[in-house]
Symmetry: C2
Subunit: 147 residues, 2 copies
């Protein structure tokens, strides 16, 4: 029941890109450095996000990547689905055909409730929320250091 590095790194990378948006695209190399992720591995992770249209990329000098939608319109559930494949705890919940017991199985019902609880959390948080939280957090920590 663990998230892989794909989900963790990818989410952090997207947040980093959202935080550093400006007129110019953000360099993947810089994201990788700031987030301490291997640059080569980061390219890997970013690819499905570009294909899905969450990010837009520009090649060549002064290139990089940028969000193609407002951060407030990108849900965490969507990000994780792209990075991890799916967030279901078991396959039979969304695909009853994989197990002949599905109809009579109460453990399946429970995994369904578990998935719903997870979906509710992840649908309710957008990349924009993360950006805002990060700004608040950085400010609070800054004040703490001042005192």
């Amino acid at each position: 029941m663990k998230l892989s590095t794909r989900g963790r790194y990818g989410t952090r990378a997207l947040l980093d890109i959202a935080l550093h948006q400006s007129e110019r695209p953000v360099l993947l190399k810089e994201v990788a450095r700031r987030q301490e992720i291997s640059p080569l591995y980061l390219e890997r992770l970013i690819t499905p996000l570009i294909t899905a249209g969450i990010l837009r990329s520009t090649r060549g000098a002064r290139g990089g990547v940028s969000l193609s939608r407002p951060a407030g319109e990108v849900r965490l559930s969507e990000i994780l689905r792209l990075l991890e494949g799916s967030i279901e705890p078991v396959e039979c919940v969304n695909n009853p055909g994989v197990c002949s017991r599905s109809g009579a199985c109460v453990t399946r019902d429970v995994w369904g409730e578990l998935q719903k609880a997870m979906d509710d959390v992840l649908n309710g948080i957008t990349l924009g929320d993360l950006v805002e939280r990060q700004r608040v957090k950085d400010q609070t920590r800054h004040i703490m250091y001042d005192i």
Copy 2:
């Protein structure tokens, strides 16, 4: 973000044992047959549950396993913790030391919320609840066939 067969088979096996409780212990071989789990693999899965004291085992002829506590006192969260190791989506939530960013990281906060939502579901359901649900479900399905 998937449960492994350990969590899935193990939960089903425990439910099966709870449903078939009587004066005599339940045979693992029978559990394995009913749940279509390899008998050899099932022994594997059952071991930590015995060590943790959820199940009691009796060896020899007429032996088997039985619940050592009332089913209503066994929470799903406990079962999964024993079978899967833990249900945390990332390690840093419960163990901030593994990452130097923990203090400043808002994605970590989100994974914490995700974990809480999962814990709430799994703490709120006991093996006794599963037994009851299964009985209701079987009855409903039986009536449906009658009509």
